[in-house]
Amino acid sequence: MKSLWKMTWMEAKLFLREPFGTFFTLAFPLMMLFLFGSIYGNEPSPLFGGRGTIDISLPSYTAMIIATTGLMSTTITIAMYREYGILRRLRTTPVSPLVILGAQVIVLFLMTAAGMMLLLLAGKLVYHVQFEGNALSLLAGFTLASLSFFGIGFFLAGIVPTPRTAQIVGMVLLYPMIFLSGAGFPRELLPATIQKIATFLPLTYVVNLLRGLWFGEAWSQHVTDVAVLAVALVVGVLASSRLFRWE
C-alpha cells in the first residue's frame, strides 16, 4: 500500500514535469475552448437544440482529453519505461507489476479529471455554460470512458516495439478520431457519410455518452455507448495483461 502511494505520487510529479502530457491534458483543451468560444460565442443555436456551441463542446472536449491521455500518454509512458530499462530496473525489486500499472492508471485518471475540471471552470466563468445533468452520473460515465481508453492504451503499449512507434501509432489513431467522432468540434457540422464512419470509432461512444449525461439524459438512452465502452475496457485489460512485457 505504501509503495502504491509513493509510486503514484512519484508518477504524478513526473507527469507534471513532462511538458508534452501536461500541455495536451491541461492546456490544449482550454485553448480549443477559448478559440472556438471567440469564433462562435455561446449563443443558443437551433442546430444544437437551442444550446450554444460551448455548451455542446464541453463534454466533447472532455472526450478529447480522455482520448489523448489514453492513446498517447499511457502508450508512450509504458513503451518508454520498457525501452529505457525502467521496468527492468523495477523488476529487480519485490514491487508488484500491479503497483506499477495501478499508479499509472490513478495518475492518468486524476490528470484527465483535472483537465476536465479546468474546462468546466473556464466554461462556467467565461461562457456561463449550463450543466443540466447529474454530477454523479457524469462522473460515472467519465470514469468508464477513461478506464476503457486507458485499457486501449495499455493494449497498444503491449504491441508497439518502441516509444517512437507508440507516438506515431497514437497520433495516427488519435487525430482522425478526434475530428470524426465529434470530440474536436460538433459532429452536427460533419457530412452524413463521415458521421457513418464515426460509428466505428470508440471515441464516438465517449462523446455520445458524455454529451447525453451532461444534458441530463437517462442511462437507458445510452445502453449502446456503455456496452461498447465496457467491452473495450474488458478486452483492453485482458489483452494488455497478456501482452505486458518487462523488456
Binding site: K2, S3, W5, K6, M7, M10, K13, L14, R17, E18, Y81, Y84, G85, I86, R88, R89, R91, T92, T93, P94, V95
Partner: protein, 307 residues
C-alpha cells in the same frame, strides 16, 4: 563457510546460439566473486539466471537457498541487483528514486545514510538524466544496497567509466564486502577482476575455463616475468651473452625485452640494470611487467581479451 550460490550444469541457449554451456560453481558467504571474459562469453546471461530474470534451459540454480525461478520474490527481498542495462526516468531526482525504492522493502536501510556513504549528498536534488556515468552507477549501487541485502549482484559496473571513477567504485565494492555481504560481479576488465575479486571465474564462449583466486590463476600459469627498456642504437652482443641461465632476450627496434621464469634468486630487474650499467649502455623507460590475468586468459584461450 556458508554457500550462498550453487550452480550445477547451467545451460542457456538463444535460438541456435549457446550462451551458457553447462557451467557449475559455488559462491561462498562474504566473498567478492567475479565472472570475467570478453563480450558474449556468457557472463550476463549467467548472472541474470541467478537473479531470476532469465529461465535456464537446463541445470539447477540455488541462490540464498531458493530457486530464483520458483521463489523470485524471496530472492528480490534479500538480494540487491544492479543491471547492465537499466535506467530511471530522466526527470526523477536522486532522493526521489531512493525514497521510492525504499518503499518496496519491509525494512529498508535509511536512504539518507546511503546517500552520504556513496558520496551523492550533493546530488540529492539532481534529476537522474543529469548525472554522470559514475554518479548513475553509484546511485544504482545505493538502490541495490537499500534492502540491506545478504547478496549483491553487480553486472558490468564500471563499463564506460573513466579510470578514476572506476577506482572509486572498487573502493565502494570493497566496503560492501567489509559489511559482511557477498558480492557477485561481472566485468570484461581483467585488471578489475584481479584487483577486486577474491575468486574469479574466467568465462569464454559459454564455459568456465578457469576458476580460482587471481594469484593462484597467475601462479598456475607459470608465466614469465619481463623487464622492458628502450635503447639508443644497437644493443651490444656482450649484453646478450652476459645474461644468466634461464633468461631470454628479444629486441624489436629500440625496444628490448628480457624474459625470465618466475622464482629466481636475484630479481630479474636487478640483474638487467646491473648489466646495463656495467656495460655502460644508455637506456630509458625501463620497467618490469608481472604476468597478469590478461596473460592467463591469453594462454587459456589462445586469444587476447579485447575491451
Amino acid at each position: 563457510m556458508e554457500t550462498i550460490v550453487q550452480v550445477q550444469g547451467l545451460r542457456k541457449t538463444y535460438g541456435a546460439t549457446v550462451a551458457v554451456d553447462d557451467i557449475s560453481f559455488v559462491v561462498h558467504e562474504g566473498e567478492i566473486f567475479g565472472m570475467v571474459g570478453p563480450n558474449g562469453a556468457g557472463k550476463t546471461t549467467t548472472i541474470e539466471c541467478l537473479e531470476g530474470l532469465r529461465k535456464p534451459d537446463a541445470g539447477t540454480v540455488r541462490v540464498l537457498g531458493v530457486d530464483p525461478q520458483q521463489e523470485g520474490q524471496t530472492l528480490r527481498l534479500r538480494a540487491g541487483m544492479q543491471l547492465q542495462q537499466s535506467n530511471l526516468p530522466d526527470r526523477m531526482k536522486v532522493w526521489e528514486a531512493l525514497d521510492l525504492y525504499a518503499s518496496f522493502y519491509p525494512k529498508p536501510l535509511d536512504w539518507r545514510d546511503l546517500l552520504v556513504q556513496l558520496g551523492l549528498e550533493e546530488k540529492r536534488n539532481t534529476p537522474f538524466g543529469k548525472l554522470s556515468g559514475g554518479q548513475k552507477q553509484r546511485l544504482f549501487i545505493a538502490l541495490a544496497l537499500l534492502p540491506d541485502p545478504q547478496l549483491v549482484f553487480l553486472d558490468e559496473l564500471t563499463t564506460g567509466l573513466d579510470p578514476q571513477a572506476r577506482r572509486a567504485i572498487w573502493d565502494l565494492v570493497r566496503d560492501v564486502r567489509a559489511r559482511g555481504k557477498t558480492v557477485i560481479l561481472t566485468t570484461h576488465f581483467m585488471e578489475e577482476a584481479e584487483r577486486l575479486c577474491d575468486r574469479v571465474a574466467i568465462l569464454d564462449r559459454g564455459k568456465i575455463v578457469a576458476l580460482d583466486t587471481p594469484e593462484a590463476l597467475i601462479r598456475a600459469l607459470g608465466a614469465e616475468e619481463r623487464v622492458v627498456f628502450h635503447i639508443e642504437g644497437n644493443l651490444p652482443p656482450a649484453f646478450a651473452s652476459a645474461l644468466s641461465e634461464g633468461t631470454r632476450l628479444e629486441v624489436q627496434g629500440e625496444r628490448a625485452t628480457v624474459y625470465s621464469r618466475n622464482g629466481r634468486q636475484v630479481p630479474l630487474v636487478v640483474e638487467v640494470v646491473g648489466l646495463l650499467s656495467a656495460q655502460g649502455i644508455r637506456y630509458r623507460d625501463l620497467r618490469t611487467e608481472q604476468p597478469n590475468l590478461e596473460d592467463v586468459f591469453l594462454s587459456l584461450t589462445g586469444r587476447e581479451m579485447r575491451d
